[in-house]
Amino acid sequence: MTRVATFEVHYTRLIDRDGRPTQPLPPLAEDRDAMVEMYRAMVLTRTFDTRAIALQRTGRLGTYASSLGQEAIAVGVGVAMTPADVLLPYARDHGAQLLRGVTLTELFLFWGGDERGSNFATPRQDFPVTVPIATHLPHAAGAAMAFKLRGERRAAVCLCGDGATSKGDFYEGLNLAGVWQVPAVFVVCNNAWAISMPRAAQTAAETLAQKAFAAGMSCEQVDGNDVVAVRIAMEAALTRARAGEGPHLIEAITYRLADHTTADDASRYRDDEVVGAHWEDDPIKRIKAYLVDQMDWSKEEEEAVIAACSVEVEAAAEAYLAIPPQPVEAIFDFMYETLPTDLAAQRDALLKEVTRRG
C-alpha cells in the first residue's frame, strides 16, 4: 500500500466573537476607514433586510430571503472584488450586490417581483440572483473561461449555500473550473441549514471545503462571521485567480439566524434556544466590538451610521413603492431579440383584451 495523495483543510478566524484578535492581524485590521466601510455595509445590509421583511409582511414585497447573520460573507466578498470582476450571487448576497453598485431600490424591485430588478445600472456584467440552487456554478466556470480566453485579469466570484453543495451542477461547475484552470473563486456560505435540513443531512463530508478536492481545487474554511477573515481569504484567492493560478473554494461558516424565507417557519424544525446561542456569533456585533475596543468607535459615530443607513433604506423603499409595474406588454419583451410573428400576435391579443377590460 502506497500513499499517493494527501490533503488538508485549514480553518481561519482572525477576530473572535467578542471582537478580540485571535492572532496577529493583517494591515487591513488597522485601517479604520476600511473597517468602518465594512461595518457600515453590514449595517446597511441588515437595515435593508429588516425593511424588506416589513414590506413583505404588509404585502408590498414578495417572498424574501433574509441574510440575517451572514452579512460578513457577502460584505467580505463584495469589498474584496474589483469592478472588473463578475459576481454570480445566490439569494442572500444583498451585501455583496450593494457593494458592487446594485442600488437598494433595484434590490427591492427584484424582491418585489419585477424583472427590472435584475437590470441594474451597475454592474452591467454581474449575473442576476440565481434561484435554482447551484445552477450558476457552471455559468461561473464559463464566464471565468471567457476572461481566461481574452487574457483579462478578472475573476468570477460565485456564491452558494451549504445545501447547494449536494447538487450535480455544483460539482460539474467546480470540476470544469478546475480542469480549465479558470479565474474563479467559489464561496460556500455554510449557514448550517438548507431550509429545514441541517448541514449533517446534506453530506457525510467532514467539511464542505473538501468538496473542492474532487475537482483538484485548493480550498479552505474561514469563520464566516469574521468579515476580516473572509475578506483576506477572498483577496488572496482573487489575486491568485487573476494571476492565472487557478480557482479556489472558500467555505465560510456562519449561521442562518432568520427563517429560511418569509414563507418559512423555522420553529417547526429547530430550537429557538439553539438559534439564540448563535446570536453570540453575530458578525455585526463582532466587528462593532472590535471597532469599539480597538478603534475608539464612538456612540455618535455608531448612531450616525445607523441613522444614515435607515434614511438610505427608507428613501429606497419609497422609491421602490413609487415605481409602477411595467406595462402589460412587457411580458413579451426580451423573449427574443426581435419578436417572432406568433408572439407578436399573442401580444396584440393581450393588448386588445386589456383595452377591452378597460
Partner: protein, 326 residues
C-alpha cells in the same frame, strides 16, 4: 369522510397509502420534520418514522434516481420535488430510466414510483416557482402524468398513482392547495388513473381543462349557463395516458371545443388534444378549436403574473367566439 383542502387530501392519501402498504416510502427535500414546504407530508415522519419518511440532500437528480433504485428493489417511493421549476434536473432520470426500466428489461425490473410536485402560477412567487411545463413529462412514453383539480380527486388519484405499478408524475396545482374544501371519502380511491372527469354536462360547447384552470373553466360554464348555454366541462385528470374518447364523445355532441391550460400555448399539451380532434374528431367540429393558455413567454414575476394566467374573461371570450362561429 372529512372536509379537506387539496393539500390535506394529498397528505391524507400519502398517509393512507403508507398505512395500507409498508413498501410505500416518502422522500424528498424537507419532507421530514418540516413536513414539506407546503406541508403535504406533515405528520408523516411522526406517524411512520424515519425508515418510511426521509429527507434527501438538495439534489433533485438523485432524488429521482434513488427513487428508481428503491422502486426497482420493490419499494414504492413517493418522492417530492419542492416546485415544478426544480423538476428539470429529474428529466434525464425520468426519461432515460423511470419510464424505461420495465421496457428495457422486458418486465424483469419495474419502477413503481411517484414523483410529486406542486405546479402552476398564481401564488405570487419568485422566479421558477410558477412553472406549468407538464407537457415535458406528458410526452414521454412510459410515464403516467396525473393532475388533480379538487381535493376528492386529488385523494383518489394520488392513492391510485401510488398503487400503480408504473412510474407516475403527479402534479399538484398549488394555487388551489388551500382554496377549496371538499368532502373526501377516505380509504377509497374512486378516481381512476385513465379517464377524464366530466364535471359539468352540456350540449353546446366542450371546455377541456386541468389543474387550477379548472376553477376558472367551471366559473365560465356557470356564467354561460345563466345565458342558457350548456358547457360540458372536462377535467383531464390524467394527461397520459390520455382518455381522448371522453373528449371526442363530448365534442361529437357539442361540435365546439375550447381547451384551457396555464402552460404556454406552443407545445403545451392542449395541442395534443386539439390534434386528436383535428384527426378523429374533424367531422364533429363546427368551429375552430381554441386554446386559452399562458402566452408563449416565461411566466412573469408577480407584478404582471395575473395577466399571464388564463382568466375567466379570456376563457369566456374564447367560448363566445367559438359559440358564435357558423
Amino acid at each position: 369522510m372529512a372536509e379537506l383542502t387539496l393539500v390535506q387530501a394529498v397528505n391524507a392519501a400519502l398517509a393512507q397509502a403508507m398505512e395500507e402498504d409498508e413498501r410505500v416510502l416518502v422522500l424528498g427535500e424537507d419532507v421530514g420534520v418540516d413536513g414539506g414546504v407546503f406541508r403535504a407530508t406533515d405528520g408523516l415522519l411522526d406517524r411512520f418514522g424515519p425508515t418510511r419518511v426521509f429527507d434527501t440532500p438538495l439534489a433533485e437528480t438523485v432524488v429521482a434516481g434513488a427513487a428508481i433504485g428503491l422502486a426497482a428493489q420493490g419499494f414504492r417511493p413517493v418522492a417530492e420535488i419542492q416546485f415544478m421549476g426544480f423538476m428539470y434536473s429529474t428529466l434525464d432520470q425520468m426519461i432515460s430510466h423511470a419510464a424505461r426500466l420495465r421496457w428495457r428489461t422486458r418486465g424483469r425490473l419495474t419502477c413503481p414510483m411517484v414523483l410529486r410536485a406542486p405546479y402552476g402560477g398564481g401564488i405570487r412567487a419568485i422566479e421558477h416557482h410558477s412553472e406549468s411545463t407538464e407537457a415535458l413529462f406528458a410526452q414521454i412514453p412510459g410515464l403516467r402524468v396525473v393532475i388533480p383539480s379538487a381535493p376528492n380527486r386529488a385523494y383518489g388519484l394520488l392513492l391510485n398513482a401510488i398503487r400503480c405499478p408504473d412510474p407516475v408524475v403527479f402534479l399538484e396545482p398549488k394555487r388551489i392547495y388551500r382554496t377549496i374544501r371538499e368532502e373526501v371519502a377516505l380509504g377509497t380511491a374512486v378516481a381512476p388513473l385513465d379517464s377524464c372527469f366530466v364535471l359539468n354536462e352540456g350540449r353546446d360547447l366542450t371546455l377541456v381543462s386541468w389543474g387550477a384552470s379548472v376553477i376558472e373553466t367551471m366559473a365560465v360554464a356557470e356564467t354561460l349557463s345563466r345565458d342558457g348555454i350548456g358547457a360540458e366541462v372536462i377535467d383531464v385528470g390524467t394527461l397520459r395516458p390520455l382518455d381522448s374518447a371522453t373528449i371526442l364523445r363530448s365534442v361529437e355532441k357539442t361540435g365546439r371545443c375550447v381547451i384551457v391550460h396555464e402552460a404556454a400555448r406552443t407545445g403545451g399539451f392542449g395541442g395534443e388534444i386539439a390534434a386528436r380532434l383535428a384527426d378523429e374528431g374533424l367531422l364533429f367540429l363546427q368551429a375552430p378549436v381554441k386554446r386559452v393558455t399562458g402566452y408563449d413567454t416565461v411566466i412573469p414575476l408577480p407584478r404582471l403574473e395575473h395577466h399571464y394566467l388564463p382568466s375567466t374573461d379570456r376563457i369566456l371570450t374564447a367560448a363566445r367566439e367559438v359559440l358564435a362561429f357558423e
